[in-house]
């Protein structure tokens, strides 16, 4: 039942709600550093949990993150391992 799944989605979202969630602006501020952390093979979700949390919830920001990752993967970071940031 469609109605059931909508309510279930809302209940799931409500259940996962945290008081310390950051907004889109704050996520965007940190997105470049987050992307580089991912590409350096580090655990970005652990290093920057509030950013990861926001990306789990926000479709707009998640879309931008994935596009940024694609751009970086295939340009700056792809060619040589020694060009990874410290």
């Amino acid at each position: 039942m469609q109605e059931l799944s909508s309510i279930r989605d809302i209940v799931q979202m409500v259940a996962a709600t945290r008081a310390d969630e950051i907004g889109c602006d704050e996520c965007f501020e940190q997105l470049d550093r987050f992307a580089e952390t991912v590409l350096a093979g580090k655990n970005a979700a652990e290093a920057m949990p509030l950013v990861q949390d926001h990306l789990n919830r926000c479709g707009d920001c998640r879309e931008e993150f994935e596009a940024l990752l694609a751009a970086l993967r295939l340009t700056t970071f792809a060619p040589r391992p020694d060009s990874y940031p410290v």
């Binding site: 409500v14 751009a71 340009t75």
Partner: protein, 206 residues
């Protein structure tokens, strides 16, 4: 394409002779964006426009680059945001909030089971009663603005940016509006003894 340090990028782009740095950055951004938007319907001309607008924005906001990430990463981020913002605008241009909200099944928040006064409560399945309770909480706790925002994003699938614009807000403010809504529902559900775990378990059984 020469390798520049972050500091060199910044100083050259803000110097009296930025052309070489601009040309290199343009090439880098164009390549990056073409990969980033590989699965989107964009033309070569679109990509060039996005990069051009991106460069303008980057130069305007140069002083806000703090060095947390590489300059080129930061610049790519600015460009990607700009491009996707425009693509979303195009994609959703002809969709009004009214149409979207009216088409979602949340439009009628009066649960059928309660609307029918002759219904025998003992015949109503627990999950239906629970759904009705959640719908009642949504109706009582949230303003119309909050309900509209939640429905449009969650049920309608409209990007936050697009909902925000139609509601006269910015994306950040809309995220916070929805966050506030979720917190209200969370508090109220807790108050009424509706724990998420129990509710979700009931959904599994339904």
């Amino acid at each position: 394409m020469g390798m520049r340090t972050d500091a060199e990028w910044c100083s050259q782009l803000s110097s009296a002779a930025p052309d070489s740095a601009l040309a290199d950055l343009r090439g880098l951004l164009l390549r990056g964006l073409s990969f980033a938007l590989a699965s989107y319907r964009v033309t070569e001309s679109d990509l060039e426009d996005f990069v051009q607008d991106g460069l303008i924005k980057i130069l305007q906001e140069l002083s806000s680059y703090r060095g947390d990430a590489r300059f080129t990463t930061w610049a790519q981020k600015v460009c990607v945001r700009l491009a996707l913002t425009e693509l979303r605008r195009r994609r959703w241009r002809d969709v009004s909030l009214d149409d979207l909200v009216a088409n979602t099944e949340m439009a009628d928040i009066t649960p059928a089971v309660l609307a029918d006064r002759s219904a025998d409560p003992s015949q109503v399945a627990p999950v239906q009663m629970m759904v009705a309770a959640v719908q009642r909480i949504i109706a009582e706790e949230l303003t119309e603005r909050q309900r509209t925002a939640m429905m449009a994003v969650m049920q309608g699938g409209m990007p936050l940016q697009e909902v925000a614009e139609r509601m006269g807000a910015n994306r950040n403010a809309l995220y916070k509006l929805i966050h506030d809504s979720r917190q209200r529902l969370q508090k109220r559900m807790l108050y009424e003894g509706l724990t998420p775990q129990e509710l979700l378990a009931m959904f599994e059984q339904a």
